[in-house]
Symmetry: none
Subunit: 419 residues, 2 copies
């Protein structure tokens, strides 16, 4: 099945939240153990397997820190909060130094008591219309800082602050729970820029509430008995970091295919191109066929194709190990259609960015299975791709930060250290 062509490119199949814990629903197996899968097991049996600690044993990581780490960027150095990654994922062009926040469009009363963090689960379309009004405000807002706001999915959005005095050293405005009074941002250090940012952001949020309160769309929502989206609640301030790109590090052209904004954001920060698949939704109903086809096609022009699939994580968050098993089987069928073609000239790597337990719906620090196959890749005698089988593999247990070196070295892209 592996064809003798020395591989010069890598398909990285990232199954979000892939690792799991055994559940009684699946007879004390994990979803991966319970799934009937042909392609994933073939990769395990023709290649090398192991366990991956996305960051460190027992440390649950977010999708952001997990992805940074697995792409080879130490989150201790490069993770500056989720805001910048979310903003990048939303297609906003961030420069190093820009400050970005995640934002909820929420419902507050006249005294800023938080009534609904999700503004009656407002639709993406309505949120976008309201966001346009905020964007107009931002445009004419008189300040030493400049503001940019975009809504993303439903009540979610991102706010970017630029300027010499922009700082991420301000408190979250979002109190993270309803029924309490929203506090305007306060500086968290003694710098002039933190003081200015807190002050100007407060002015901006107060003005935005005026604009949103009287927006016809919110007036209509009130009339229909729906919560208006009349306040912006920023959180997770972070300064856009400067990541050395994968091209600088390994001399490769790389591309990401992902439904979720965050994953595109992390990958863009690493200098990857983004290939959009319009029918990729970033959830269980995504168009797996179109995503795999785009990935295989991308292997023609890129040395690294990063294909991200989110549904595995979603099923765990829904406490549904059977749905996760079924989704893995769907992935396996789509992958199987292309496996021969992928292995002619490419290395394939399959793993996850963290464990999400279907028992409690939370991220956990259990390692995730890893399988890598391709011409020239060592073959161990593990023949199944799951958390337990891979623990007996020849790779042993490695850390996320080392994985990109391992993969790039398989295609001869890691510079020798010494002579």
């Amino acid at each position: 099945m592996i064809t003798g062509v020395v591989p010069d490119r890598v398909l990285f199949l990232m199954l979000d939240g892939l690792g799991d814990r055994p559940s009684r629903e699946l007879g004390l197996m994990t979803p991966l153990q319970a799934a009937r899968k042909v392609a994933l097991d073939l990769i395990a049996s023709e290649g090398m397997t192991g366990l991956l600690d996305p960051y460190a044993p027992g440390v649950p990581v977010g999708s952001d820190t997990g992805h940074l780490s697995i792409l080879g960027y130490d989150p201790k150095v490069y993770y500056t909060g989720r805001g910048p990654l979310e903003a990048l994922g939303a297609g906003i062009d961030l420069k190093p130094g820009d400050v970005a926040f995640r934002v909820n469009m929420a419902t507050v009363d006249d005294d800023w008591n938080l009534l609904d963090r999700r503004a009656g689960r407002i639709s993406t379309g309505e949120a976008r219309e309201l966001a346009r009004a905020v964007a107009e405000l931002a445009e004419r807002f008189d300040s030493t800082l400049s503001f940019e706001f975009h809504s993303t999915v439903e009540h979610r959005g991102v706010l970017v602050i630029r300027g010499e005095k922009a700082s991420s050293s301000v408190t979250d405005v979002d109190p993270h729970r309803e029924g309490v009074r929203v506090q305007m941002p306060r500086p968290t250090d003694g710098s002039e820029s933190a003081r200015v940012t807190a002050q100007e952001l407060t002015r901006f949020l107060l003005r935005a509430k005026e604009v949103l309160d009287r927006h016809p769309l919110n007036v209509a929502r009130r009339q229909r008995g729906l919560n208006p989206a009349n306040a912006l609640l920023p959180r997770g301030a972070g300064v856009m970091p400067k990541l050395p790109s994968l091209r600088e590090r390994y001399g490769v052209r790389s591309v990401v295919i992902a439904g979720g904004a965050l994953y595109r954001g992390v990958c863009r920060a690493a200098g990857m191109d983004v290939r959009l698949v319009p029918t990729a939704t970033g959830t269980l109903n995504t168009d797996l066929r179109a995503k795999f086809e785009a990935a295989v096609e991308s292997l023609r022009s890129y040395e690294l194709v990063f294909l991200h699939i989110k549904g595995t994580d979603t099923a765990s968050h829904d406490l549904n190990p059977s749905a996760k098993r079924d989704f893995i089987e769907r992935i396996d069928r789509e992958l199987h259609r292309h496996l021969d073609s992928i292995l002619s000239g490419s290395v394939i790597c399959v793993t996850g960015d963290h464990t999400t337990s279907s028992l409690d719906g939370r991220h956990h620090g259990d390692p995730v299975p890893l399988a890598v196959a391709g011409e020239g890749v060592r073959r161990d005698d593990v023949a199944k791709f799951d958390e337990l089988s891979c623990s007996r593999g020849s790779v042993g247990r490695v850390r996320g930060l080392d994985l990109m070196n391992v993969l790039m070295d398989l295609i001869g892209r890691v510079e020798m250290y010494g002579e």
Copy 2:
């Protein structure tokens, strides 16, 4: 086979470039997997096995950085370029602060255009005679710095610069390819010592060309239509670092047996004695029998004997996995003659300094197999010494920097940390 005597010494058998990738030529096995071997498998089956990352997963190391790391010296701290290691290996007595270069004796025209980086593959004997003339020049050369030149093998040599103003912050003179004009050294920082070194080295190289151009041996080579070795091309400047010796670290007497100058150099930097085996060539035709006899004999007077064998690496660089397999079988036969005697009182460790792939002839970051046996060493159920079998061993996957502690602790030479 292991005799009950508590071991107090270690034989470290270092097989250069031992790790490999599976090749079709060997039925998708690595040379180690394909080799019929008795002694190496006995060591695996009577001892503990694992995988060793010479430096870090996926990072290809040179023989220099790989050896430093495996001897317990972090290359990030102690690696200052190959020049000093090469000079040490050539038997030059370097003191911390001395600056050393690797040198090619090459052919240039009157305008210093590089015609032949290897001077018509000049023999070691002829090169040595020319080197004597350069050494005489060095002796009478009037400068604030002092110069020392030695030829080593064929066109290769080393140049050492000493003095208060000696600096390694100068550019390579060797342009690394033929057909271009050689540039004299330039300082790479703003220091006075870099300026002086560049200036004095330039003067020395110009004078050396005059001496070499008119040397009778080169005159004769020209008459025979051969390229004269009329220029010295230094590269890889490095300052000799101060390594704490193995004796300081572990209180052991140690000795190296190696055909290649570089390996002797690294080991001398670690304070090891050098035992010369005149018939050791550092390549596939080396005198394995004499090397093993010298190693076993050295165990009488040293607590650590480091036996380096290069041919495994050479075969991989030649893209010849079958030759590598055959050479491993030869090593195994010679080792087998002494194994009983070694294991009476010694611990034996076998591993490599890096993976060299017989598919592309390059160093790679795949881990290398490791086996350690001797009285008191834990025994796992791995019975074969190769990349895959050892991956199931009880040692797991460890890093080069930790290995020397593991070995020295087996003979009770590592000081307790804490009380």
